[in-house]
Amino acid sequence: MTIDTPKSAPPPHPLHILARKNVLAGLMFIAIASLGLWVSRDYPIGTALRMGTGYVPRLLCWILMGLGAVILLQGLKEKDAPPERTSLRQLMPIVVVTTSLVAFALAIEQLGLVLSILLLVGIGAIAARDIKIWELLIAAIVLVALSWAIFILGLGLTIPVWPVW
């Protein structure tokens, strides 16, 4: 899986160095390791023979921290690596997809399967810029019918289909 990054030569600006893939990846691993170490700060460590709750987690976090630091340094040393650029248009799908899933999660037990599907499809469709209303309607109907047939009829799951009050 490759992701297209702009090919233009990076202007010599310190912030652009920070935006390189490997630099960002290193920073990400360091951040996750720091978070893990902070959360596990009170876990008993024990000894190598009698490992406490915190032994393995803290060990793994320190290794991750070290790896993150090496990846970060490698990224800083790279010659002419293009910086990552993210436009608002690229961020939109992240927000839309997350929102549609959160809406589905909140709705499924109260509003039932049919309305939750409509919510997910309705919100999710915002990410498709060129979808037409009638296409959306047909997609929603097909997906409701298909989900009902597979999960309720076929597998006999006990998901509420309609709103429960």
């Binding site: 899986m1 893990g36 997350t98 899933l101 999660a105 499924i108 997609a139 997906l143 998901i159």
Partner: protein
């Protein structure tokens, strides 16, 4: 003949109407997602994991396996006709396959790809049947220290053979191990990394993580990239049978691809993608006139297409016999087995022969179905490429949401999947392959279990891993692999092997 009686037992199981049906469903879904770019076998198998919970274990596994090798057939169709790899394992097929199509030999290329895949699939089925029992016997003699060392070797080999940065892959494994720790510590019953959320005290469900990272994450990644224009070849495919000349060039390549794929598939970290890349490099190296490659060389289609199918199938061997997943798909298959309470390992073959041999036999039946599904019906699959991604992603998203919800009837799981979706997108964007993370997540608890058992055997002496010859050998092999990949010369050629396209 033990082999034949085993296969007969397997055919008994695989030929029940229900299991033939599930093999067909798997093959159809596999071809479908193989043809469609933007959704691959990992995401699909992850999405269907929750469904298999409601099926017989053997039926569920037959279906999931069908998706994996079915995708190898489907992927070549798009690669040849549209110059778009439907799967990463058919990336190299684009190079010469599409050139053949442009020279009006699309039918020939498709037929060679399908027949090569079928041949490779048949051979690989027999290889599994022949080599799995002895390997399982070896596995049964393994104790906890040997298992621990084997998993260390497996993880390291997976990193070395996977593409991309080795450091990042190791970091992703560690991350997977960390995610595997979330929940209640089995030894002390205290909570780890649960952030005081009660739903997390049971840990993160494997299927939720996989659906989030591979299903939701890929949807986000595809949406941010924008829709690529797909120009489907409008010319009719006239001749489906290869010419005598093409045929005589193709069959030695099929044999080479099958052998290479079968070997590379068994290795940890191997599988379909590695096999197809390696087969292409091999064909180009040994060709009398390498300049033909890139201009429609038949061997460039026959070799990689046989290799990816062989590799896809033989990668089941370590999973089925030792319980060690070599790639992300096998990690998902292990997840599917544990959902049913089956502990993967060498005992599966002796305790559940129906499951084991049924699955192996179904692979051959599935390959036969795929030949029929793909060759005469090729036109239908090509039409499917006209389905715009905007419909596809809505369906994927919905299936992810419902699937995750049904695992434990828990809306919270959907939120976790959404979280891992965003995380998965960030990983892909930063070129941190999520596959090693899944391997770490699956192997983490197993490694911890075997580590603790080994320590109990030895009374807390870590030298037990070095005192036992098999364990020592496995650890030495792991160390050698790490050393090799650190050598600059090897690193460069490894880089080139994956840059061939």
């Amino acid at each position: 003949m033990e082999l034949l009686s085993n296969l007969a037992l397997g055919l008994d199981v695989a030929l029940t109407p229900a299991n033939v049906g599930f093999a067909l469903i798997g093959a159809l879904i596999g071809t479908l997602i193989g043809v469609l770019p933007g959704i691959g076998p990992i995401a699909t198998i992850a999405m269907l994991l929750p469904l298999t919970f409601h099926l017989e274990p053997v039926s569920g596994l037959i279906m999931l396996a069908g998706i994996f090798y079915g995708a190898q057939y489907g992927g070549s169709t798009t690669a040849i006709l549209v110059n778009l790899p439907g799967e990463t394992s058919s990336v190299v097929t684009c190079i010469d396959g599409h050139q053949m199509a442009r020279q009006g030999k699309a039918g020939s290329a498709l037929a060679i790809a399908a027949l090569g895949s079928f041949f490779a699939g048949t051979v690989a089925t027999f290889i599994i049947a022949a080599f799995a029992p002895p390997l399982a016997r070896v596995g049964q003699s393994f104790g906890a220290p040997e298992y621990f060392s084997l998993m260390v070797l497996g993880l390291i080999a997976a990193v070395v053979l996977a593409h991309g940065s080795v450091l990042k892959a190791i970091a992703m494994i560690i991350l997977g191990l960390l995610f595997g720790l979330v929940g209640t510590d089995g030894q002390t019953a205290s909570q780890r990394f649960t952030f005081d959320i009660t739903q997390l005290s049971d840990g993160i469900d494997f299927a939720v993580l996989a659906i989030g990272v591979f299903g939701v994450g890929e949807v986000i990644a595809n949406l941010t990239r924008g829709e690529e224009s797909r120009s489907v070849m409008s010319e009719r495919i006239t001749r489906l049978w290869p010419t005598r000349e093409d045929f005589s060039l193709a069959w030695p390549a099929v044999l080479r691809g099958t052998s290479l794929g079968s070997i590379l598939g068994v290795l940890p970290g191997g599988g379909a993608t590695l096999s197809s890349f390696a087969a292409y490099v091999l064909e180009k190296k040994i060709a009398r006139d390498p300049s033909r490659f890139g201009r429609g060389a038949v061997e460039g289609v026959a070799g990689p297409e046989s290799a990816n199918n062989a590799g896809a199938q033989t990668s089941f061997i370590p999973m089925l016999t030792l319980g060690i997943p070599g790639n992300a798909v096998m990690a998902l298959m292990i997840g599917a087995m544990t959902i049913h309470g089956i502990q993967p390992g060498p005992q599966v073959m002796s305790e559940r022969p129906q499951l084991f041999w049924g699955m192996v036999a179904s692979m051959w039946i599935g390959n036969l179905m795929l030949l029929v599904i793909n060759l005469p019906l090729i036109g239908i699959w090509v039409q499917l490429l006209k389905v715009p991604y905007r419909f596809l992603y809505l369906s994927i998203l919905l299936f992810c949401a419902i699937g995750v919800y049904t695992i434990g009837n828990s809306p919270f799981s959907v939120l976790v999947a959404a979280f891992f979706g965003v995380a998965g997108y960030i990983f892909m964007r930063l070129e941190c392959e999520p596959a090693p993370m899944i391997l770490g997540f699956v192997l983490g608890p197993l490694m911890e279990d075997n580590l603790r058992r080994a320590m109990r055997i030895s009374g807390g002496d870590p030298m037990i891993f070095l005192n036992r010859p098999i364990s020592l050998g496995l650890l030495i092999a792991a160390a050698i692999l790490l050393l090799i990949v650190a050598l600059p010369a090897i690193r460069r050629s490894r880089h080139e092997a994956f840059q061939e396209s």
